[in-house]
Subunit: 311 residues, 2 copies
């Protein structure tokens, strides 16, 4: 299968490397690391084994890339204004765009571009970080969840396009969950992301410290209670017990810096719109106000502006 | 009049110095600055003129102080567990305790000690900071608001004890507002304190930056909307227009670091219980949940623990 990786940061490069190793034809779009990868190759230090590719199909401009069967989008949501420019060259009528980004409503944005391609959503349950140019560390997990996006945002079921994308990941030894309801899956993932990304970034604290302090553990609980209300506002009923499950899961995790905390530490743009702003506005559009989520969101907007000014 | 200053930090030393200059017999209880003031005196650099007292009645222990007519309490609320020990030696049946602290429910705590003294509340509208041992900078404002505390928390009106305390301040050229409803006044002051102390401390930002960013300006608005609901829960109806007044007032202020931001910068205990926890619990006891206030409070509890561990 031909596969384009649009945005070869930690997530894009990790999954791209796995697919490449499995024998697929993978084309990587790089931004800042293009020259380095051309000269020195791509390296992934993974808990499941080291991978090093001295030469990969690396590109600096999407116009130079071929049309591909699968188009994996792993850019940061903060650059989504560029998506049309990045995707049009690699998308044909038989392409499937697989949106591997954080947060909510990214698939809606891609579908709105009118590319003619199928739109799938992909949730990555993985801890990996870029530790240098063309150099990724894969720390834990790796499963992906795939779902087919329907513009009416109703459950799409398991479609042939979903099966085809799942097969590619499975051929690379990646665990895949094929999910009939992408929107439900997105809201479920927001539980952890909303409970931990913002508090960790704002307080400069790893996840273990957030769950280890009774006040911020309750903050996480309160935020997840609101996410549950948001999901319900779009017809997705997630059991209340899921909140306790997430806390127990996080108790057992190694101390972790969520992506937004790393972004704040490195003065990079924060993904507060995808993770906080979109859920907040979606719930509001359905008559539900998420006050705690909004309070964290407002602080993150300030922090993001502050980081931008400090760059 | 004999006056005890319990806690001679920025607020206590500033008002104590003004009362001393007006000819009252003032007894200052110091903590860390005792030795320095004994040796070098007390200095206040004020916008209304410099004050220097080479010798003042300085004490390190309340047991060494005389019983006084007025007992001004200007300790931080974070040490309120010590109030009985600090107040009993200087209080008699004719004393009035004047609580000059931030936040809510401090007078309730003093009244609960059963000292036999009158309990008055005092709100200080002043910008002053301690800039060195026994050295206070007075930057702006200075008015005090005095109210008589009634254990049933109904308006007490203007009482003789209130008049007596007001006279002392007025004799020192301090503008005094005698307020018949201390609880209303405390909630009114919480508008500014809740809108700015926590956000400034958490985001490391002066007041001008909070009002200058649309997201945190809205956060301030949302917090004040909740404070208004909290006040209403105890029967105090503050007009909604007050929120806009506070924002306009803060727009015109010189960039300012609220006390909690300075405390965070210097890794000192934060007054989040008096300013956030008590209003939150009081409103909750009256059936109203303040979600934004709670979200800020939970983060402040984390920050306070973090600062304590870093000391």
């Amino acid at each position: 299968m031909t596969i384009a990786i649009i945005g070869s940061g930690a997530i894009g490069a990790f999954y791209g490397a796995r697919l490449l190793k499995a024998g697929h034809e993978v084309h990587f779009l790089f931004h800042s690391d293009y020259e380095h990868v051309r000269a020195h190759g791509l390296r992934v230090d993974s808990v499941v084994g080291e991978m090093f590719f001295p030469q990969v199909n690396a590109y600096a401009r999407p116009e130079d890339m071929p049309e591909c069967d699968l188009v994996l989008v792993a850019t940061k949501t903060t650059t989504n204004g560029l998506l049309e420019k990045l995707l049009r060259p690699v998308c044909g009528p038989d392409s499937s765009v697989v949106l591997m980004q954080n947060g909510l409503n990214g698939e809606r944005a891609v579908a709105g571009l009118g590319l003619g391609a199928t739109v799938l959503g992909c949730l990555c349950f993985v801890c990996c970080n870029k530790i240098g140019p063309g150099h990724i560390a894969h720390l834990e997990y790796g499963k992906v969840l795939l779902g087919h996006y329907r513009p009416d945002e109703q459950p799409a079921g398991i479609t042939p396009e979903l099966d085809r994308a799942a097969l590619a990941f499975e051929s690379a030894g990646i665990a895949v969950e094929k999910n009939p309801d992408l929107i439900l899956a997105r809201w479920r993932k927001l539980f952890w992301n909303i409970a931990f990304n913002g508090p960790c970034a704002l307080l400069g604290a790893t996840t273990d410290r957030i769950v280890g302090c009774e006040a911020t553990r309750q903050l996480a609980r309160d935020l997840m209670t609101e996410v549950r209300a948001g999901a319900l506002s779009v017809g997705r009923d997630i059991p209340e017990s899921y909140i306790g499950d997430i806390l127990t899961f996080t108790d057992k995790m190694a101390p972790y810096k969520p992506s937004m905390m790393l972004d704040a530490e490195h003065a990079r743009p924060l993904e507060m719109e995808a993770i906080y702003g979109e859920p907040l506005r979606t719930a509001r559009d359905h008559g539900v106000e998420l006050s705690c989520v909004r309070t964290i969101y407002q602080q993150l907007v300030f922090l993001d502006q502050h980081l931008r000014e400090s760059r």
